[in-house]
Amino acid sequence: MRQSPALTFSRVGHAFLGRSLFEDFDLAIGKGEAVALLGPSGSGKTTLLQIAAGIVEPVKGRVLRGYRRQAVVFQEPRLLPWMTLTDNIAYGLAARGEGKAARRRTAERLALSVGLEEADFTKYPAELSGGMRQRANVARALAVDPDMLFLDEPFSATDVGLRRHLQDLLIAAARSRGFSVLLVTHDLAEAVRVADRIAVLSGRDGRIAASRALAGRPGERSERAIFEQVEAWSRDPVFGELFSATERAR
């Protein structure tokens, strides 16, 4: 019997201030599958992610959710400035009423796993560097043990080393826990590194212009294979729109 998808967009349409962002958007993400949604700036990628996560209600169509628990890694860390590092990481756990001792244990374990140190546990976000805040952002999402993870251009403001570290960390977590991933990005190399499948959102009509499966599994692809794939696709006219310097005029 075929497994039902973790997430299905069915003829989803949305408009902002009377202007249509996309219409009849369809996409299904299988359980344990990592899909990268690429699109030019202003094409509505983040809105689609917010619709998927239930933060924004679509104007038309529907989203079917076949998962239990979701988490979002945002582009900016969005840590609460009045909470310490471990309280921030445990925010999702506290929101669902988990006990203080249990959530502190989970938060501390995850903080260490993303490369934060014990001395940082009681620090406030203002005392942490940008990279440390982004690590905490990832740890907060993993803390709730999601089976669907939404990533909204999470590493666009991080340096190359940290980006690789966090990407590897997420790939390893997705493999060991088997959660599904929807990654919104405009970085083709990141998409090729992290995803099983790539869907390209057209900047013209807001539909999927191309959907391509990637050979091999995330984490097992060589750097050479990743760069060759990026090189090949960047010459493809479907992907050409992603690298256009001009934003989508609406």
Binding site: G54, I55, F74, T122, E127, L128
Partner: protein, 269 residues
């Protein structure tokens, strides 16, 4: 151990910051002394004469009763105003309709001078403590209302979205996101309110002849005992300062410790 050290460091910084406040008070005392030397004791008793009058007052058996009477009125009025004003401001911040409904009422409350409310309260409550409490509430609640309203309106919606994505309930978001943010708007309002609560209480007591510090001031004025007048005024100021620096500032420093986190030494305040 690190918590103890952090606590000691914070207490030390707080006490050290008090020097600047003390310097301001001594400057004021110097100006007061200069005024006394120009106009004499009958017009303006010196700080030393006032201190002697306070000393004599403190020896009176009913001194603490008088203070507790005024303190009860000022602080209960302040607490009522803070609670009702903040609650109304939060509701107005979340509901546009409630804001449209409440704003004109608040404008009316702010527009009528406290003396006007005292006259009305005198008719409603007579010469009882109710007059002072009601006047304090009406004069102070609009400030808490405005602070809470502004705080809710300017909360970080991105944090709210983050919390929603984790399935946080409305009540949990209010407690962990909105209220800590609103506090930074409420503390300045509460500081102003606490000061005015003492002033309005003494004024209402004086006009309604309902005892307390205001009642004592009325007696001192009738007797032309000017050092006694300045003594009671000084006591009122000391009580207002104690409420502000002894309670509100301490609570604020503790609640907003995160604000000074991450700042290098020397620019803590």
């Amino acid at each position: 151990m690190s918590h103890v050290l952090a606590g000691l460091g914070w207490t030390g910084r707080y006490l050290w910051a008090g020097w600047a406040g003390l310097a301001g008070i001594f400057c004021f005392l110097a100006v007061w002394q200069a005024g006394h030397e120009i106009y004499g004791s009958f017009i303006l008793p010196s700080p030393a004469e006032t201190a002697a009058a306070i000393d004599a007052l403190a020896a009176r058996p009913d001194f603490w009763t008088i203070l507790s009477q005024s303190a009860g009125r000022a602080l209960s009025g302040f607490a009522l105003a803070a609670v009702t004003g903040t609650a109304a401001g939060l509701v107005a911040g979340y509901s546009f309709a409630a804001m449209r409904l409440m704003k004109p009422v608040v404008t009316v409350m702010l527009g009528v001078p406290p003396i006007g409310w005292i006259v009305l309260a005198l008719i409603w409550f007579g010469s009882s403590g109710g007059t002072a409490v009601m006047t304090v509430v009406i004069a102070s609640a609009p400030l808490s209302f405005a602070g809470a309203l502004e705080g809710v309106a300017k909360r970080d919606r991105q944090l709210d979205i983050m919390a929603q994505s984790f399935g946080a309930s409305w009540a949990y978001r209010l407690r962990t996101i909105t209220l800590p943010h609103v506090l930074s708007y409420l503390f300045p309002a509460w500081t102003t309110t606490a000061g005015s609560a003492w002033k309005v209480t003494v004024m209402a007591e004086l006009l309604s002849n309902s005892g307390g510090i205001g009642g004592e001031l009325a007696t001192a004025r009738a007797l032309f005992d000017i050092p006694l007048v300045t003594a009671w005024l000084a006591i009122t100021v000391i009580l207002a300062l104690a409420t502000d620096y002894g309670v509100l500032h301490v609570v604020r420093e503790a609640a907003e410790r995160w604000r000074s986190a991450g700042l290098p030494w020397g620019v803590k305040r």
